[in-house]
């Protein structure tokens, strides 16, 4: 996993609420057995017509946002399915951070496993960031994970909360499985205890 420390990039405004995982990556692209290459189909049905032509109005098709690295989104971003193809598609497109008033739990969790930082901000702050994002490519938002701040292009800075364990893993690009395997003795002892207490499991 690519570590995440500090990112300054173009933010794309997507004020729509309830942007779901079917919008982020429609099911016809879940048939892959790889994690890569999904960026081409990120937001596919919002971004392209049925015959594959770009829909010019869609934010990521606009010249200012084609290289966006941040999305500022409406409430409840990532609701719906558990498909990790959603963060894979975002990452493959180049998105490293999403800012919203709330995220669906499973999507939020999946982001951290893939080097993407989802940031929850209060409504008034999201509003300011959304306005900044609307200014296009010249407005570059800075996300600083170590300092836990988001800074607009004109220097307004807002703090955010992030779980300490997730922050540590994200900043160091750590593999969860490796960390858990170091606790193998604890898992062994849990299993032997459970085998006595709940042998039918």
């Amino acid at each position: 996993m690519t570590p995440f420390d500090k990112l300054t990039g173009v933010a794309a405004p997507m004020p729509l609420v309830n942007i779901d995982t079917d919008m982020i990556i429609p099911k016809q692209f879940l048939k892959t057995i790889k994690r890569s290459g999904l960026g081409a189909n990120l937001f596919d049905e919002m971004r392209f017509t049925q015959d594959g032509a770009e829909i010019p109005d869609f934010v990521l098709n606009q010249p200012a946002y084609r290289k966006a690295e941040i999305i500022v989104a409406g409430d409840n971003f990532g609701c719906g399915s558990s498909r990790e193809h959603a963060p894979w598609a975002l990452l493959d497109f180049g998105i490293r951070s999403v800012i919203s008033t709330s995220f669906a739990d499973i999507f939020y969790n999946n982001c951290f496993k893939n080097g993407i930082l989802p940031i929850v901000m209060p409504e008034n702050v999201v509003k300011v960031l959304m306005e900044d994002a609307r200014r296009g490519a010249n407005a570059r938002i800075t996300v600083d994970l170590e300092a836990q701040t988001v800074t607009t292009s004109d220097g307004q800075s807002f703090p955010f909360e992030v779980d300490a364990h997730r922050k540590h893993c994200l900043m160091n690009g750590l593999d969860d499985i490796g960390l858990t395997m170091e606790k193998a003795a604890a898992i062994d002892s849990y299993e032997s205890k459970a085998a006595t207490q709940r042998p039918w499991v």
Partner: protein
Amino acid sequence: MKARTLYDKIWDDHVVHQAEDGTCLLYIDRHLVHEVTSPQAFEGLRMTGRKVRAPEKTIAVPDHNVPTTLDRANAATMTEDSRIQVEALDKNAKDFGVHYYPVSDVRQGIVHIVGPEQGWTLPGMTVVCGDSHTATHGAFGALAHGIGTSEVEHVLATQTLIQRKAKNFKVEITGSLRPGVTAKDITLSVIGKTGTAGGTGYVIEYCGQAIRELSMEGRMTVCNMAIEGGARAGLIAPDEKTFAYCMGRPHAPKGAAWEAALTYWKTLFSDEGAQFDKVVTLKGEDIAPVVTWGTSPEDVLPITGTVPAASDFKGGKVEAAQRSLDYMGLTPGMKLTDIKIDTVFIGSCTNGRIEDLRAAAAILKGKKIKDGMRAMVVPGSGLVRAQAEEEGLAQIFIDAGFEWRLAGCSMCLAMNPDQLAPQERCAATSNRNFEGRQGRGGRTHLLSPAMAAAAAVTGHLTDIREMMEESV
């Protein structure tokens, strides 16, 4: 000892390790696996030389991609990429030695129907799957939720998950349901009230008389859609109905082990005075048969209602509602019962069990679907299909003009060829009405199996209660 909720109790019994910051390593009792969200996880194990830690607690079944047409034994019915995914699961199940129900097995079906049916899902367990509708298994008083593929790999390798505890949310349905109102109407009505983000960060416990009065299958329907309300997991405390359902299932305990399990299961309820962080109460008698009009499961209205206008909403929902109305091709003010339907889909992990098929067949008996209507029934498992055939339900569906399919996820998410065409309007017993969910441009109205059957007959969304009066 401090009064604990059902969620607290199951959580406490599965903590392997707790870090100072509260992050826990939680033991997983059952890991269900399907073909779409697992190939990258198994590949990760291969690349790192890791094994599946507990193959005996891992159960795999292909469901999302598989064709449901009767000719599916012929591999040519699958697209190349679908076939590769199913073959990858065949190979991974064999290489890593996990329990497996291949497409050719009569027990194959939707993973959330197979788990309970085979007795893999039992009260007090932790159950995960790379699928958000894992919440279904909460009906047994099991802590069950969806996970992403990285977590699938984590569970395969370690039989644990890194978790932080969610908050407790009590949803109480008091009193009894009125005739024609079902578990589907309960779960949709709750989402209509709390919104699709209302449960974010919570585990829901459904309780109250109306929940107690539901069968196990109805309870599965309720818990299945906890995720549509934003909660990763929904729970219902186990009771005599739960125990009766589990007893005798192939993987349920037997003899002395059963007795020991039962003693433990009877401790699984929220203690008197246990603290909930949020409580919502609905009166069972106030719940009507409902349908969705928009493209979010929170867009729920009683069937007697009318299509709302965007201006009826506030904040970000105004734009979303307008987008939904445009997408769904609906005009504010029109009666929901005037909405014409092209296609009816009965099936999915929400409503693909035998009682769902019985409810639909009861409406369809001796009737025909509307001319030009496309209608299909996709049983949730091969065993549900076999039982429906034995009970004569299959023949009722076929006589009415329905297609009688083989088991799979089918048109719920339309990964296989069962899809809607643009602007095709479907009454579906599934769980999501998102844009494009059932096929690009397809329009979905979520409802109960009986309401879906009624729409198939009349050709438009229909108040099931009127049809029930007719048949009396």
